[in-house]
Structures are given as structure tokens and as C-alpha cells.
């Protein structure tokens, strides 16, 4: 049972290390997939926005983390 719990915890940990980055990526993907078409944004523009948004999320996250130097992960 303990081994199973460890495996499950590790499995979740595979995808989520920083919850704000994971949540941001999921929300942004949903916006690009289902929100923007409602506003009439085209398929190629949504592709560009998806890519730019994900890069912005990653950059914001690592730069923010760099301001908290001295901690261990």
C-alpha cells in the first residue's frame, strides 16, 4: 500500500512541480482551445497565441523563482 501511494505521488509529481505553472498552462490551453473561437479568433492566430502564452508563463515562473534565491527544490 505504501509503495502504491509512493508511485501515485511520483506520478502526480511527474507533471506538477510548480502548481501555478501547471494551472496556468491548463487554463491558457482552454482559453486558446475553446474561449478564443467564441471571439472569432482564427485557427492560426490561436496557435500563435498558445505558443506565446506558454512561453510567457514559463518565463514569468522561472524569473519569479529566481528572485527567491537560496531555497532548495
Amino acid at each position: 500500500m505504501a509503495a502504491l501511494k509512493t508511485i501515485l505521488r511520483e506520478l502526480v509529481g511527474l507533471f506538477i512541480d510548480d502548481s501555478s505553472l501547471a494551472a496556468g498552462a491548463v487554463v491558457w490551453a482552454a482559453v486558446c482551445g475553446w474561449g478564443l473561437p467564441v471571439l472569432g479568433v482564427g485557427g492560426e492566430a490561436r496557435a500563435a497565441l498558445l505558443v506565446l502564452g506558454l512561453a510567457a508563463l514559463l518565463l514569468e515562473n522561472v524569473v519569479r523563482a529566481s528572485g527567491r534565491v537560496g531555497r532548495r527544490e
Binding site: I16, D17, A29, E44, V63, S66, R72, E73
Partner: protein, 252 residues
């Protein structure tokens, strides 16, 4: 006909990502074998590999029953999260914000822990050794299975991805047999950086396919995504170094 634009990145991503996972598993199995004996270490490893094979055989065919759109969406999202997680950590390590992973330290820690349990009551059945090697191979193996499915399933590229993972296993097993010590000199962060870029690009591509965006250049945009994430990650390292220096200067 398999497109090289997909097959080569799939094979490379699966090889590099699996290499990192197998190196981590090898470190612990080596510690178990050295401290508690090779028979239980290899028994635990074999048990985990058999369990993984059963898991793959049981769940693999189910994957083909799911409509492709859902596979692309699900696999793309998981792959993106997985890739961003690796890329984030690799960027922060490269920028000196967090410490590097040290296989030699892991080996030393694992060896000390295994010694602290004392000798097994039954020399033929060392539960501590079997449990330790089973858990690490199972954990890292599940990650490898996921990586192979993730980089291969959505594009019908399970074979190249499987070949990549198999090649990584072969390399690590051979190096382990020859060296008999942890592969501490493997540039793990550089590997994670490269794999993070590849997985983030794959994840974005399949997620985009799943939610119905139109990729300019169709499948070839995958190469553009790889270049984009590489550029962003390299830029992020520079930004993080500057930010870290500024934060340290304020701290002084």
C-alpha cells in the same frame, strides 16, 4: 509512411528522457546490489520489469480504442506539463538558482540507508533489497512507459519512441555492467534541458491539435516549436542569472 519530422524528434526525445530515468534507477539498483547482494537486487528489478510489461500489454490496446482527438488532447496536455516541469527545473539549475542533481550523493545516501537496516534474517529473501529495487525500477519504468506513449501514441510513432527508450536501456545497462558505479558524469541537466525543450514542443503541438488550432506548415511546425522553446529557455537562463544576481546583491 512515418514522417522524419516526427520520427526523429520522437526517437531522440524518448532516448534522452529514458536515459535520465534509467540512470536514476541504475544508481539505486547498484546501491542495493553492492550493499545487500545482487540476487535480491536483480529479483526486484525483474519483478518490476515484469509488472511494467503486464501493465503495457493490458493498457496499450485500450489506448487505440480512444478517439484520436482525445488522445491528442490528453497526451498533449500531460506531455506539455511534463516538459514544462523538466524545462523549468533545468533552467533554474543552469542559472544557479537551485542545486544540480548529484548521482554520487544519491548513491552514497542510498548505500548508507540500506546498511542501516542491518542484515536480512533470510538470506534467500531480503525484503528490503527486493522492495527498494522493485520500487525504483517501477517508478522510473512507469515514467519511461509514459514518455514512450506520450511521444509516440498521438502521432502513431510508438515504434521509434520504443526504439529510443530501448536504446537508452541498452546504453545504461552496458555502462552499468562495465563501470559498476553510478553514472555521475552523465550531464543530467543538459539532458533534461534538451528533453524539456523537445517535450514542451511535442506537448504544445499535440495539445494544439487536440483543441483544434491550425499549425502553419502542418507537421513541420513541430521543428519550429522545438526551435522556439529552445530560444525561450536559453533566454530564460540569462534572465534568471541576472535576476538571481540582483536578488543576491539586495541580500548583501
Amino acid at each position: 509512411m512515418i514522417s522524419w519530422a516526427h520520427a526523429l524528434p520522437s526517437l531522440t526525445a524518448a532516448f534522452l528522457a529514458s536515459l535520465v530515468e534509467f540512470v536514476e534507477a541504475l544508481t539505486v539498483v547498484l546501491a542495493v546490489g553492492t550493499v545487500r547482494g545482487w540476487r535480491p537486487a536483480l529479483f526486484g528489478t525483474g519483478l518490476a520489469l515484469t509488472s511494467l510489461a503486464v501493465l503495457v500489454l493490458a493498457l496499450g490496446p485500450a489506448l487505440t480504442q480512444i478517439p484520436l482527438d482525445y488522445v491528442q488532447l490528453g497526451v498533449g496536455l500531460l506531455l506539455l506539463l511534463f516538459g514544462l516541469r523538466w524545462l523549468r527545473k533545468a533552467i533554474l539549475r543552469a542559472a544557479g538558482v537551485i542545486e544540480f542533481h548529484d548521482e554520487a550523493a544519491t548513491y552514497a545516501g542510498e548505500t548508507a540507508l540500506l546498511k542501516s537496516y542491518g542484515a536480512a534474517r533470510n538470506r534467500r529473501w531480503d525484503a528490503v533489497a527486493i522492495d527498494t529495487s522493485f520500487k525504483i525500477v517501477m517508478l522510473e519504468g512507469i515514467e519511461v512507459v509514459f514518455i514512450v506513449i506520450a511521444v509516440g501514441a498521438a502521432g502513431g510513432l510508438l515504434v521509434p519512441a520504443g526504439i529510443g527508450a530501448g536504446a537508452a536501456l541498452l546504453v545504461v545497462v552496458l555502462l552499468g555492467l562495465v563501470l559498476h558505479r553510478p553514472l555521475a558524469k552523465v550531464p543530467e541537466n543538459a539532458l533534461k534541458f534538451a528533453v524539456g525543450v523537445l517535450l514542451a514542443a511535442f506537448g504544445t503541438f499535440w495539445l494544439g491539435e487536440g483543441v483544434g488550432v491550425d499549425w502553419p506548415g502542418a507537421d513541420w511546425s513541430l521543428l519550429g516549436l522545438v526551435a522556439w522553446f529552445l530560444l525561450v529557455a536559453l533566454g530564460a537562463v540569462r534572465l534568471c542569472r541576472a535576476r538571481r544576481s540582483a536578488a543576491l546583491a539586495v541580500g548583501d
